[in-house]
């Protein structure tokens, strides 16, 4: 066992670091330095810069335009991004529908969609949840009715369609068979957002930003070419997708960045005539969260190392979402404690609070979603109890 990096790996790190310093545009670099929130346009700017370099999809195989890195290189790359605070790319194309199309899509679908996901020409969003189907996703009622010509008419309402207002395409789970139970009758579709009959209405989260949308489908025609794989097999595909890059979902980088920000601010903020960071009790509090985050980081490394050897995700990978999202919340809670009354600020003009503190209150609220979305943590626990611990069902 070994946790060190080889000289080649260290050279790779140096290459990444120096390229990042060059490549990140100055206006983004300032925002990154302050951990400011990036706009959709800024995120896409950064997407395109990475794409031009060939580094936008570290985990894609080379034949589809990935850089051909191994797990350790991908880890080093992600660490360097974290240290710079670069914008986080939208996962819906790169991490979700892209790998799914690679695994289950036809050659035509792969040629049609993958290049534009890579380039950022086409932005994707996800159509899974419905108002009545959240944790119980399999109870979804959006229907795709097959027409005489083989195309489908899509009707229903999706919610939590993150950034649908910016999306060119949406991937949708819809029911193609009403007669079978739950999971069995669901298919997986790729839908052009410009198709007539689609209505998108952004709504505010508690973070005060329109990150999510309601999306209605009113007899939206989906060409048969846009069905993934076989009809009624959509649930299987969607489940396989959950296995992709599970390690990303831990968000160790996000939490580490938040902790770093908390420390930086705590070093500036004066309490009793000394920096807050020097308060022994508070410092111990920060340290404890960092220690927990380190344990998670090693757990991610274990999962990556195992994946690199081609093993199936082990028991350790199942806890990443659970603990990762808890630590995202714990670290932002600490950051809010650090900034004290400046954490009262809500979308005020620049300069009202220190730049590094500006985005914290919005994230503090929004990150409550992390333990709810992508399978709530309660659902994760049900799954682990059953599949890993083998506890009996009621």
């Amino acid at each position: 066992m070994d946790m060190s990096f080889s000289p080649e790996q260290e050279a790779f790190r140096a290459e990444v670091r120096s390229w990042l310093r060059e490549a990140l545009p100055p206006e983004l670099a300032i925002k990154a330095e302050h951990d400011a929130a990036f706009s959709h346009e800024e995120v896409m700017t950064w997407h395109q810069i990475l794409a031009a370099k060939g580094w936008v999809a570290p985990h894609w195989p080379k034949e589809h335009g990935g850089p051909g890195w191994d797990a350790t290189q991908r880890y080093i790359f992600s660490q360097e991004l974290e240290l710079m605070g670069t914008p986080q790319l939208s996962p819906f194309g790169l991490a979700m529908v892209g790998p799914l199309i690679m695994q289950f899509g036809s050659a035509e679908q792969q040629q049609r969609f993958l290049p534009k996901i890579l380039s950022g020409e086409e932005v994707w969003c996800q159509g899974y949840s419905e108002p009545g189907a959240g944790s119980d996703l399999a109870s979804l009622t959006t229907r795709a009715d097959k027409q005489a010509d083989g195309d489908y008419l899509l009707t229903g309402q999706k919610t939590w369609t993150t950034y649908a207002q910016y999306a060119d395409w949406i991937f949708v789970l819809a029911r193609t068979n009403q007669d079978v139970k739950q999971q069995a009758g669901i298919s997986f579709f790729l839908v052009d957002m410009k198709t007539p009959g689609i209505t998108v209405k952004p709504f505010l989260t508690t973070g005060g930003t329109p990150a999510f949308c309601e999306t209605w489908f009113d007899a939206v025609r989906v060409p048969k070419e846009n069905l993934i794989g076989q009809e009624n097999m959509g649930w299987t595909y969607a489940k396989a997708l959950l296995g992709h890059e599970r390690t990303l979902v831990a968000g160790v980088g996000i939490s580490a960045r938040t902790l770093l920000r908390a420390k930086r601010l705590a070093a500036e903020i004066q309490v009793n005539g000394a920096p807050l960071l020097e308060d022994p009790a508070f410092r111990a509090k920060l340290a404890k969260t960092e220690i927990k985050l380190e344990a998670l980081r090693v757990t991610v490394l274990r999962a990556l190392a195992s994946a690199q050897l081609g093993h199936a995700p082990g028991a350790e990978s199942s806890i990443l979402k659970l603990r990762g999202t808890e630590l995202q919340q714990e670290s932002i809670d600490l950051l809010m404690e650090v900034i004290g009354h400046d954490g009262l600020s809500w979308f005020n003009a620049e300069g009202v609070v220190p730049p590094r503190a500006e985005s914290a209150p919005s994230i503090f609220n929004y990150v409550r979603a992390a333990t709810i979305y992508a399978g709530s943590n309660e659902i994760q626990k049900n799954i682990i109890a059953k599949l890993i611990l083998g506890l009996p069902s009621a």
Binding site: G134, D136, V271, G340, W346, F347, N348, R368, N377
Partner: protein, 380 residues
Amino acid sequence: MDFELSDDQRLLVRTVADFCKKESPVTRLRQLRETELGWEPRTLAQMGELGWLGVMFPEEYGGLGGSFTDTALILEQLGMTLVPEPYLASIVLGGLAVRFAAAPERAAELLPPLLAGEEVWALAYAEAQGRGAPSDIETRATQRGDGYRLTGEKRWVLAGHGASRLIVSARTAGDPRDASGVSLFLVDPKAPGVTVTRVDCMDGHKAAMVSLADAPGELLGEAGAAAPILTRVLDYGAAAACAEGSGIMQAVLAMTRDYLCDRAQFGVKIGTFQALQHRAVDLFVETELAKSSAIAAMIAADDERPEERMRAVSAAKCQLTLSGGFVVRQGTQLHGGIGVTDEHDIGLYFKRMHSLVTLFGDETFHTQRFASLPSFTAHL
């Protein structure tokens, strides 16, 4: 020992609860957070007429001569529907600062319109450094003729954007963090040298950043002696936060319980899931414990012995952080996706709880203060 409300108190609670339910449901905060002021003057006046604002002030100041407990009982109810009028900021902080700092005759002149709900006051005590510690300020006041001129930067002055009077702390002597040398001044926000910049708060309330450049101020009471007064007023603020927070927890518990009874997934009400039931019980336990410590703090807030007061207030403020933080977080979690939409009320409770937890000394401050009191090492 007596935890029963008096008949008068029972009536008061019922009246306030009725008002909140009928006239100020959470939708009022939702509407008013979009306005510049953030509250309605006529509602404040109505509260004044009903005697709610002056309830704990002596009769000679236009009050009803009650106790802080009466005020806390009102705040608990107002917390349940997040009533946006600046009771805590204007009455508890502003009003009590003048009551305890000003000479009695001056207080008697100043307070009646405040307690009638005709004015709003704001207490400008916090600066960039020091986490709101009364003595850790850099704003200075220098005597000029028979008045004072103030220079400095005050931050997060709650309700300061809509206040007709500011009560401002400034040093007339000493260095930052010296125990003595802090004085309180009455400052007209429209006076030359005063710049009031409105800022929006996460909880939908508003506040002001106040910049003072040689601004005129009227000394309240004795020069240099205001630090203990401010500490006392901020303890009232902390106890008020605990009372309001107790109301918030009760509301969040109730709405979470209702959601669990109402929402179905997997073909059953989610309230049948044992893991969620036990979480709901945890919410209940924390709500009851925080209520207990809030009661102890509201009673002790009037205690003339600083140690007794500080012990109960610090304990309650810590408990608020522990219990209140848990209740709004897990209340949100139990609501699932709907709980993180701006549309649902629980997010507003979450936000307000954060203000209450943060203001008037956070967990670290109050834990350390609690541990530094002689009572902590009694009987050793």
